[in-house]
């Protein structure tokens, strides 16, 4: 029964699931980039705004103007190369860097699933996803039937962390005891056919959805791992994600999760998929006969790769708990909220206005729409790090205009999960003097209620 790490690391498994995963990932990312482009979001999110919110420590990331299209082109092409497995290592590194760079350019559009894609593509750099059924096999004339088992387990583990932590985050009194924010969201779906004016309005349904959502997230990784429950679990995965897709504007995320979950299935299933693909592209596989099949893919630089991945997963397990280092209610301060799989967890809105005061005591309020896009203003209004960054931008702007000793004050009201809005930021604090850091922001006023839970 004892677990021997070395024995485990030397275990091998069929390469097909990882190959299918690579194809699915590449195709979806390529489609996601095209979709983003066609919706015109490159223009509205990255090019039009004159000011961009940046992640702490990544202020150096510059926006590229019209070259942003080039960046998306590179990102989309690299995703395509990942899918076909052509120069895979270079393609996945390029994808990781370009995709992550895109996300770092503008904090306003932060989504957990973009972060998921970033770290997943980072993980995939170290996995031999082109060992089997790839163009690389064709060019190198070598293909591998088996790969180390940990290569597939790593992806399962990451998916498991995403689900399980999303479930942990739901163990709080608002979610479970008040059915918030689902109560607000579901009731507003009154216009859905049949269910809209009926069960979407029922109290019991809001609770049922909250509880089953929490249980689903916590348990689904285990049901997917266990062979006898796997198929049922996968059907639940499809149902759950399609249902949330109907209810909420969550873009690609449900499909990414559904396709990713395929990796839990055994190799014969993936061979069927590969055979289907082969029969669609029969003319290619006819030529591919010159490939010699070798049994096990030898991982190069194992001594380097394994510690990197070990550290990667330790960080993944710890980062979501960093909020414990901060005082105050996490949902209120959002200190340690991001990068933690807190998905669709709260309904939060704010209204934040800024006052500029100068040396002479002159003061005036800012019309936020003069500086921010509607999306930026919406996100800025209830997130302290946005408020601080914007206050500094305003301070710099008016200092440049010739105002002396500029001070910036914020008056902010925020409402969380259907509670009445309350003052959010200490109005007497000159935010232009406050510096961004990982320390607690003392100028966030305390939350007047309590949310119990993890």
């Amino acid at each position: 029964m004892s677990f021997n790490l070395n024995t485990y690391l030397n275990k091998t498994t069929d390469a097909a699931p990882l190959a299918v995963f690579r194809i699915g990932f590449g195709v979806m990312m390529c489609y996601g980039i095209i979709r983003y482009w066609l919706k015109g979001w490159i223009e509205t999110v990255y090019i039009q705004p004159e000011f961009h919110f940046k992640y702490y420590g990544f202020e150096w990331v510059k926006t590229l103007g019209d070259y942003t299209y080039l960046l998306f082109l590179i990102c989309g092409l690299s995703a395509f190369f990942v899918a076909i497995g052509y120069k895979y290592r270079l393609a996945i590194i390029t994808f990781f860097i370009s995709f992550t760079y895109i996300e770092l350019m503008e904090k306003t559009t932060y989504l957990n699933h973009y972060y998921f894609i970033s770290i997943l593509s980072f993980l995939m750099i170290f996995l031999p996803a082109n060992a089997y059924f790839s163009v690389d096999n064709y060019t190198s004339k070598v293909s591998f039937k088996n790969i180390p088992k940990w290569c597939i387990d790593a992806i399962k583990l990451l998916l498991g962390i995403v689900y399980f932590y999303a479930g942990l985050a739901k163990i709080n009194s608002d979610w479970l005891l008040k059915a918030q924010p689902l109560k607000i969201w579901l009731r507003s779906k009154y216009d859905l056919p049949i269910i809209g004016e009926t069960i979407m309005q029922q109290d019991w349904f809001h609770y049922a959805m909250s509880w089953s959502g929490m249980l689903y997230d916590l348990l689904i990784p285990f049901f997917l791992l266990y062979k006898r429950t796997r198929l049922a679990a996968f059907i639940m995965v499809i149902f759950f994600h399609v249902f949330t897709r109907v209810l909420f504007p969550i873009g690609m995320f449900p499909f990414v999760m559904i396709v990713s979950a395929l990796i839990f299935f055994d190799a014969p299933f993936h061979h069927k998929i590969i055979n289907t693909i082969k029969s669609c592209f029969g003319f290619i596989s006819a030529k591919a006969q010159t490939i010699t099949y070798q049994s096990v893919y030898p991982v190069r630089n194992r001594k380097l790769v394994l510690p990197i991945l070990g550290l990667f997963f330790v960080l993944q397990l710890l980062i979501p708990f960093r909020y414990m280092l901060y005082p105050g209610e996490l949902f209120w301060t959002e200190e340690g909220y991001r990068l933690s799989w807190r998905v669709m967890l709260m309904e939060k809105m704010g209204n934040t206005t800024f006052k500029i005061v100068d040396q002479k005591g002159q003061s005036f309020l800012i019309n936020n729409s003069d500086f921010l896009t509607p999306l930026q203003e919406k996100q800025m209004s209830f997130q302290p790090d946005f408020i601080l960054e914007y206050a500094h931008y305003l301070g710099d702007h008016f200092t440049k205009q010739g105002y002396k000793n500029v001070q910036v004050y914020a008056k902010s009201y925020v409402a969380l999960n259907g509670r009445l809005s309350q003052l959010f930021i200490d109005e007497s604090v000159n935010l232009y003097q406050e510096k961004e850091s990982f320390k607690h922001k003392h100028w966030i006023l305390p939350f007047k209620d309590e949310i119990k839970g993890l």
Binding site: K39, W41, T44, V45, T109, L111, N112, H113, I171, L176, L177, I184, W185, R187, S188, K189, Y190, D191, E197, T198, M200, Q201, Q202, D203, W204, F205, Y207, A208, W211, F248, P249, I250, G251, M252, F253, V343, M344, E347, M349, G350, N351, T353, Q362, S363, F364, L365, I366, N367, P374, L375, K378, Y413, V414, A415, G418, L420, S421, K452, G453, L454
Partner: protein
């Protein structure tokens, strides 16, 4: 660890309870709020009657204007001014409804952009040729232009009357009123023949549905046209010094506070689904909030509007004068209105969870 055990104990307890609830039908208050009823009440008891009132007022204004231009004397001027005031008040009740044809035609931009551009008006009059429907003339038409034409073209009434010896002044005045009248006719006709049925039936929760657009327009009106234009901008809230001349109806000089109170009353009446301040509460945002178990918010909004009204009632009848004499009271009124904005934009929008019309992006 203790916390964890505690939480799991609660979980089990709830699971046990909610199981029995399923069969017992322990649900309360389903959102069967009848949005069509709300929209119908708005259209039939508030929007269309207000437009009809305004149309009636403008027709009178046309007649009285013709009388004046035929014979520009003090009596006819006084009469015209009186009708201008009453029609301007009627307008305050219509301005929030920037939806349907009004939105297409940019109705409110052609009716009430102030401060009016007197140089443009004088240039138009001097040239004798102009296209009043041109965007560039939005600040040379409507009630603010009329305000200038009736009170501001000269310092004294005698001098004003003398101006109207000039046929170009007469024509401009007539054209101004005619345009306001015809625009209103177009908007009203569209409501009665076409848009009413769109308005009351488009109740889905989508970006383009009438119910959502109306909620957004209503809040936007309150924030921009009422809070900022009537109080914030003249009170210097957005500038280093007060800008008294940017107040409403500055040439008349006696009605801007009342216009603001009428506008605020109107906002409150729409919120409460009331045709007038003395009508009973009807289908509207207030009832909708109560239906969503947000009586607390419904009450708070009414209280905050009442508080803002009290801050406005103590102001000078002319807000320009108020800014020039004691601007603090003006900014206090602004602050009270801002609290209402917060309740609308943050709390009410959260409660309704309407699809907002300006944000296009994925969530997660």
């Amino acid at each position: 660890m203790k916390k964890l055990v505690y939480v799991f104990a609660i979980m089990l307890f709830i699971v046990a309870c909610s199981k029995s609830d399923d069969t017992g039908g322990g649900n309360t208050n389903p959102d069967n709020y009848n949005r069509t009823a709300m929209q119908t009440n708005l259209a039939d008891n508030i929007i269309i009657p207000r437009l009809q009132n305004l149309k009636f007022g403008l027709e009178t204004l046309v007649d009285v204007g013709n009388t004046f231009t035929a014979l520009p004397n003090q009596a006819n001027l006084d009469n015209l001014r009186a009708i201008y005031v009453s029609t301007y008040k009627d307008w305050q009740l219509v301005e929030p409804f920037n939806i349907g044809q009004a939105e297409v035609m940019q109705y409110s931009f052609k009716m009430n952009v102030y401060p009016t551009n007197t140089a443009d008006i004088e240039a138009n009059i001097a040239n004798g040729t102009y296209d009043l429907s041109a965007v560039g003339n939005n600040d040379a038409v409507g009630f603010p232009a009329l305000d200038y034409m009736l009170h501001g073209v000269a310092a004294t009434d005698i001098d004003i009357l003398n101006k109207y010896a000039d046929a170009n002044y007469k024509t401009y005045l007539t054209d101004l009123i005619a345009q306001m009248n015809s625009l209103t006719q177009t908007v009203l006709t569209d409501w009665t023949t076409n848009y009413r049925s769109v308005f009351i039936n488009s109740t889905s929760n989508t970006v383009s549905s009438a119910v959502n657009k109306f909620i957004n327009d209503y809040i936007f009106y309150f924030e921009k046209a009422l809070r900022a234009n009537k109080f914030g901008i003249p009170g210097g809230v957005f500038s280093t010094t007060p800008l008294a001349d940017k107040a409403e109806a500055i040439y008349n000089g006696t009605i801007s506070r009342d216009l603001a109170i009428i506008a605020l009353d109107n906002v409150q009446n729409i919120f409460n689904g009331k045709a007038t301040s003395t009508s009973p509460v009807g289908e509207g945002f207030n009832k909708y909030l109560i239906e969503l178990d947000r009586q607390d918010l419904a009450t708070l909004i009414n209280n905050r509007i009442d508080a803002a009204r009290q801050k406005i009632q103590i102001l000078d009848a002319d807000l320009k004068t108020q800014v020039e004499t004691d601007n603090t009271k003006m900014t206090e009124a602004y602050d009270a209105l801002q609290l209402v904005v917060v309740s609308f934009k943050v709390d009410m929008l959260q409660a309704f969870n309407v699809s907002v019309d300006y944000v296009d992006a994925d969530g997660d």
